[in-house]
């Protein structure tokens, strides 16, 4: 079976400014991906390329096995919802936006769209009369009801309040389970959405840093906390034994120190920490993300 999206050696440049640098990544059917990266990491360029909105400077982007750029059939399989809602004409009414989507999308579910509008409390009005949060909600309605095999939400929650974002995430999950497809969520609100991601795609300065199961990434991050000199000795010892282990950061509070390490700890390493009275704790995905994308690459 072909993958939902295949990106091979993708380069995107805006004039002389490189946005994506040799990105190769595959998205499979039936998974929810979290696309993470700092501002300017290239997330929107990657997603626009996947939707066929952007001509690659070099490299290939395939959707359902076909190049997607200027290919209506492949483009029809992708629905990209952007926070800017720039695909939505301000002079339309909400119902026009929906009927336009219905024409464009083979899998469009009009009844679902109507129930989502109610759920998000989007008024039947002109698009220009909608609040920022309501405009985002309208984008989410279009994305979910499109039932597109590849549905992408690029910061689609912009301006939504906490309650609306909760509804958004619940609906993504519910509809994904009823109609399995490839869903990509790009967000800076990492902790809010982290539990939804089966896999994470992490971009950093235009390059792919990792594409991996969320649980696997989380299990690799550990905060070692305890008496400062004990923590230092322990981390130095463990790092000497496992070459893949790296120190992401350190924090100190008086005699106590917490060192963040990234890499596999063996059962022996865990026992040694317990024997030394050191606490090994997990690191939230958002903190790991900050560490992994911080500063200049070594």
């Amino acid at each position: 079976m072909t993958a939902a999206v295949e990106v091979h050696g993708l380069n995107v440049r805006y004039g002389r400014t490189p946005a994506l640098d040799d990105v190769t990544v595959t998205l499979e059917h039936g998974k929810i991906y979290g696309l993470l990266g700092r501002n300017g990491a290239g997330k929107t360029s990657l997603l626009s390329s996947m939707a066929g909105f952007l001509r690659p400077s070099s490299g290939r982007v395939l959707v359902g096995g076909e190049p997607v750029f200027e290919n209506p059939r492949a483009m029809g399989r992708v629905c990209l919802v952007r926070s800017t809602a720039d695909a939505i004409d301000r002079h339309f009414e909400v119902k026009d936006v929906l009927s336009f989507a219905a024409e464009l999308r083979q899998g469009w579910d009009a009844a679902y769209a109507a129930s989502l509008l109610e759920l998000f409390e989007v008024p039947h009005a002109y698009v220009r009369a909608l609040s920022r949060g309501q405009l985002s909600a309208l984008g989410v309605v279009v994305g979910l009801a499109s039932r597109a095999p590849v549905t992408i939400f690029d910061e689609a929650h912009l301006g939504m309040d906490a309650a609306a974002r909760g509804v958004f995430h619940d609906e993504v999950l519910r509809d994904f389970m009823e109609n399995p497809r490839t869903i990509v969520l790009s967000t800076h609100l990492i902790e809010e959405a982290a539990t939804l991601f089966e896999e994470i795609v992490l971009l950093d300065r235009g390059r792919l840093l990792l594409r991996e199961q969320t649980e696997a990434v989380l299990e690799r991050g550990t905060a070692v906390t305890g008496q400062a000199d004990k923590v230092d000795r322990y981390v130095a010892g463990v790092a000497a034994e496992s070459p893949g282990l790296s120190v992401l950061g350190e924090k100190r509070l008086g005699p106590t120190k917490s060192t963040t390490v990234y890499g596999e700890l063996s059962a022996g390493h865990r026992e040694r920490a317990a024997a030394e009275g050191l606490d090994l704790g997990p690191i939230p995905l958002q903190d790991l993300f900050v560490h992994l994308t911080a500063g200049e690459p070594k």
Binding site: L173, R174, M177, T195, F197, E198, T214, P284
Partner: protein, 123 residues
Amino acid sequence: MFDNRSPIYRQIADQIKADVLNGTLNADEQVMSTNQYAAYYRINPATAAKAFQQLVDEGVLYKKRGIGMFVSPTARDELRAQHRERFFADVVDPMVAQAQAIGIPISDVLGHIVKASEQGSDA
């Protein structure tokens, strides 16, 4: 909902084990589906499935093809045996350490345990 101390799938697995231990879930009773767990906790269904797979591997649950997951008839006894084995290391030793750290004589702790268990057996 989750304490961030261990992977979510392990916390779900632990919760189901606790339900089996305390009798909320009985032998041969069906547990909720992965999708129901996923929706309830707002987590990816693959994460919920991982918890179920762990419980099947450990013999706590068994799978009926096309129907769902059920509690193994021997699950409660096995979990009780496991918890008995770990009880002193997991519960008593940390309690003794804590009592010593804050200066409670062990005789006071023993006295309290005897009193509490007498009240427990009256109830």
